[in-house]
């Protein structure tokens, strides 16, 4: 078993920044990351890719370079390709890397697990050729692969960014089918001051739209009744917009309507979570330092509430400093001095968030899908089945799981969890908080029985005798 002052799960902006900050304060850091190279989703593989496709992917991508380069040094132990599948007693983690199971115990644990794209269960979303915009972007980042015949569906800044990146790569999307409405935008102006403070971000958005206009990408706004058609694979996107029905043929559909915190690890640890109504998602309850309801466990970055890459980096540093103070590596004076500018910057970064959340809300049809739409892909459970379980007395997702296997598959409910909770809440007339979420247990990711068995100290006959 490895020991470290701080174990960090996730090498995205929050995890990378926290690792550097903690190491600078004198802590030993173990940085576990699922990917072979650091960067997280936003700065995926940035050290290798930035020199090759940096211009195409833009400044927001290459901004990750210094963070990734900052991971060199004595006090940071990096374990790439590490699939963390168990966290016990808050700070003891087990992971698989290169087919071997390892364990580590940290004095503190920082969850920097980032965001997941919000699943967008629409009619036809399980057809071949349909993927999330983020998955499409991964192909572009890592391999430079772009579909030449794609339609983008949904809402949010990432949708515009991916569309612009596709255009720069020479394959602009066939169409942008946007689900946000003019009403969403006017509602968002209630958060107007935040929007003004985030002016740079807004300008960037306007710049992307201008880019798409130049590339001749048609935009359909306030789209409704969206369905993906095809036999076996996606052939067209059908929708209502501007008072008429549209059908755009394509072979690839990128779906995106925002990102949500990846709370699988924080749920597995069992720390408190709350419903963030503005972001339509659960997030772990944290204090200003990122400390969860468990004293030894911290969360920073999008995994603790969506704020974007810059905010994640700053939150990672704040958490690392609080941890350094916890462990006596720095004193209160040093903590206050180092943290003050970070908190100011963090407030600036977070200011436009409420505006963005309101301007690009998740698509209502995908939050509460039609009865025959599959919502649990692993076990092929439809939205209608979940409504049926509500009629059988299921108040929450754990009962529904027992009744219909929803969330029992290898993804551990990652992709259907929020939808199941939303449907049950609506059917039972209860709040998302009252309805709750799947109870997440290890393994967070599948592990082989052989790998697990290798950890046992007891011999099997010993167990036989105990029976």
């Amino acid at each position: 078993m490895t020991a470290a002052d701080l174990v960090i799960i996730g090498a995205g902006p929050a995890g990378m920044a926290a690792a550097r900050t903690a190491a600078d304060a004198g802590l030993s850091v173990l940085l576990l990351d699922e990917q072979p190279r650091p960067g997280g989703q936003i700065y995926r593989d940035v050290e290798r890719v930035a020199p090759v496709r940096g211009a195409l992917l833009g400044e927001d991508y290459t901004a990750g370079l210094p963070l990734a380069r900052g991971l060199d040094g004595d006090r940071i132990t990096r374990v790439p390709g590490a699939t963390v599948w168990s966290i016990e007693n808050g700070t003891r983690v087990a992971w698989t890397a290169e087919g071997r199971v390892r364990q580590a115990a940290g004095r503190r644990l920082l969850l920097a697990t980032g965001a997941l794209e919000r699943p967008m269960p629409l009619p036809g979303w399980t057809l071949h050729g349909v993927m999330t915009a983020g998955a499409g972007q991964i192909l572009l980042k890592q391999s430079g692969i772009v579909s030449g015949n794609a339609v983008l569906v949904g809402a949010g800044p990432l949708l515009y960014l991916v569309a612009a990146q596709m255009a720069r790569a020479g394959s602009p999307p066939r169409a942008l089918v946007e689900t946000q409405t003019p009403r969403d935008l006017s509602a968002a102006f209630r958060h107007g001051s935040g929007a003004l403070r985030g002016w740079r971000l807004m300008l960037k958005g306007i710049g992307l739209l201008a880019e798409l206009r130049r590339a001749g990408v048609p935009r359909h706004r306030a789209a409704r009744s969206i369905a993906i058609e095809g036999t076996g694979r996606a052939e067209a996107v059908c929708f209502q917009s501007g008072g008429r029905r549209h059908r755009v043929t394509c072979d690839t559909v990128y779906l995106h309507h925002g990102v949500v915190p990846n709370t699988q690890a924080s749920r597995a640890i069992g720390v408190e979570h709350r419903w963030n109504a503005g972001q339509h998602a659960f997030e772990p309850v944290t204090d200003a330092d990122g400390r969860t309801s468990l004293r030894t466990v911290f969360a920073a970055g999008d995994g603790a509430g969506i704020g974007g890459a810059k905010a994640a980096e700053l939150a990672g540093r704040v958490a690392a400093l609080a941890i350094a103070r916890d462990l006596g590596a720095i004193d209160d004076t040093a903590l206050a001095a180092a943290t003050r500018p970070l908190r100011h910057a963090l407030a600036r970064e977070r200011a436009p968030r409420a505006f963005i959340d309101a301007a690009y809300p998740p698509f209502a049809e995908a939050l509460l899908p039609a009865d025959d739409t599959i919502i649990c892909r692993c076990e092929e459970v439809t939205a209608g089945a979940i409504r049926g379980f509500a009629r059988l007395g299921c108040l929450g997702p754990n009962q529904a799981k027992a009744f219909g296997r929803v969330g029992m598959g290898p993804c551990q409910g990652r992709s259907c969890g929020l939808t199941v909770s939303a449907i049950l809440a609506r059917e039972n007339g209860r709040t998302p908080e009252e309805t709750g979420y799947f109870r997440i247990r290890p393994p967070l990711k599948p592990v082989t029985l052989g790998e697990l068995a290798a950890l046992t100290a007891a011999d099997e006959n010993e167990i036989d005798r105990r029976r």
Binding site: S86, E88, R92, A94, Q103, G270, L392, G393, C394, L395, G396, P397, N398, Q399, K401, A402, F403, G404, R405, M408, G409, P410, Q412, T435, G436, R439, R441, P442, P443, P446, V447, T448, L449, G450, L452, A453, A454, L455, T456, A457, A458, E460, N461, E462, I463, D464, R465, R466, R467
Partner: protein, 366 residues
């Protein structure tokens, strides 16, 4: 109209009793907890298991066998009504042993029980080679197994769902998300709920699992039950690997291999632990080496409802006539008995099963 019975607890035990009562024409109200209530009904292993039951109490062995024998008809009727097959398979089950001496000790116990039951306890002992013919995928370290022909398994979640659906279809009222906090007797029963509401019923069945620990004494019961944790692992769906279930490993009808079991005295902690998961995984791999490469996709823990001697408790309240306590840790195995035979016991009919040995005064300090 006031129900004839209020059933406190809507797990497999409570719903089985409710279903049986509804079939007899009684009006039934089931009061059930919420999403995060401790529920053995959704954490259990799904065995309909005869062997090892009642080694020291032949009456328990008999009650278990009667239930196992009633299961086929019970499952067929439920499946017929709900259109949902329960995945019942009662073609026998194995008790695997890696250790020759442990196997021999167990066989000696079974011989004793067989004698106590007048020879009516059908089991076979299979050495490694004989077992290999039945289960070709066992590993070289398996010393042998006991095959009990009365054993079997079922999909326990389908059972739960079928009962939940059919109890409603039969006219039972089920209220979920409620907690009974007090019961008053006098011209029937008045149950006070945590949300401030009250419910009235002529009779009460307390089948609230571990909830009986707090509610039992208010109804005049000792309810000496405690939680005992069991952890379970389940793999990805696999091609057929085994023919029969065992107490520690079974392949479910959906294809996953389910691995148990642990017995841990840890109070109300229903968390899983790496140490136990690793140990039961190691044992399963020893029995079926092919499992070494299988992906584990889920693990969970649930709390058994254990009495001091491990046997069920069937008790009529000495202070509140009309109130009965029904609790056991084998709610799946005994579901058929609870549905078919317990209504007679509740109603004191001439056909009532003799459940005297399961009275809770066996635990009373004399």
């Amino acid at each position: 109209m006031q129900p004839d019975y209020a059933i406190i607890g809507g797990g497999v035990v409570g719903l089985s009793v409710a279903w049986g009562l509804l079939k007899r024409g009684f009006r039934v109200l089931v009061l059930d907890g919420g999403d995060r209530t401790y529920r053995a009904s959704r954490g259990n292993f799904g065995l309909i298991w005869v062997q090892s039951k009642g080694l020291n109490e032949p009456a328990y062995a008999r009650w278990t066998r009667n239930s196992a024998a009633a299961w086929a008809g019970f499952a067929a009727e439920l499946a017929d009504a709900t259109g949902m097959p329960l995945g019942l398979n009662q073609a026998g089950g194995f008790d695997y042993h890696l250790d020759e001496a442990a196997l021999e000790r167990r066989v000696a116990q079974y011989e004793g029980l067989k004698a106590a039951l007048g020879g009516d306890y059908p089991f076979e002992v299979l050495g490694h080679n004989a077992l290999k013919r039945e289960e070709p995928n066992i590993g070289p370290r398996v010393a042998g197994a006991i095959l009990h022909h009365g054993d079997g398994h079922v999909n326990p979640l389908r059972l739960l769902r079928a009962l939940a659906g059919d109890v409603r279809r039969l006219g039972g009222e089920v209220r979920t998300g409620v907690e009974v906090i007090d019961v008053v007797h006098g011209d029937g029963f008045t149950l006070t709920l945590a949300d401030g509401g009250t419910v009235r019923a002529a009779r009460v069945v307390l089948s609230a699992g571990l909830g009986a620990m707090t509610l039992g004494p208010k109804l005049g019961f000792l309810a000496p039950v405690r939680p005992q944790r069991g952890q379970v692992l389940v793999t990805e769906k696999l091609p057929k690997l085994m023919n029969r279930p065992s107490g520690i490993i079974r392949q479910v009808d959906e294809g996953g291999v389910q691995i148990g079991d642990s017995n841990e005295e840890v109070g109300f902690d229903d968390g899983v632990t790496l140490e136990t998961a690793a140990a039961i995984a190691a044992r399963a791999v020893a029995v079926f080496p092919a499992l070494e490469r299988a992906q584990l996709v889920r693990s969970w823990a649930a709390l058994r409802i254990m009495s001091p001697d491990g046997l069920p408790i069937y008790q009529k309240s000495p202070t509140m006539p009309g109130a009965s306590l029904v609790t056991c840790h084998s709610g799946i195995t005994l579901a058929a008995a609870h549905a078919r035979f317990l209504p007679d016991w509740l109603e004191d009919t001439a056909e009532a099963p003799d459940l005297e040995v399961f009275r809770e005064d066996r635990f009373a300090v004399s």
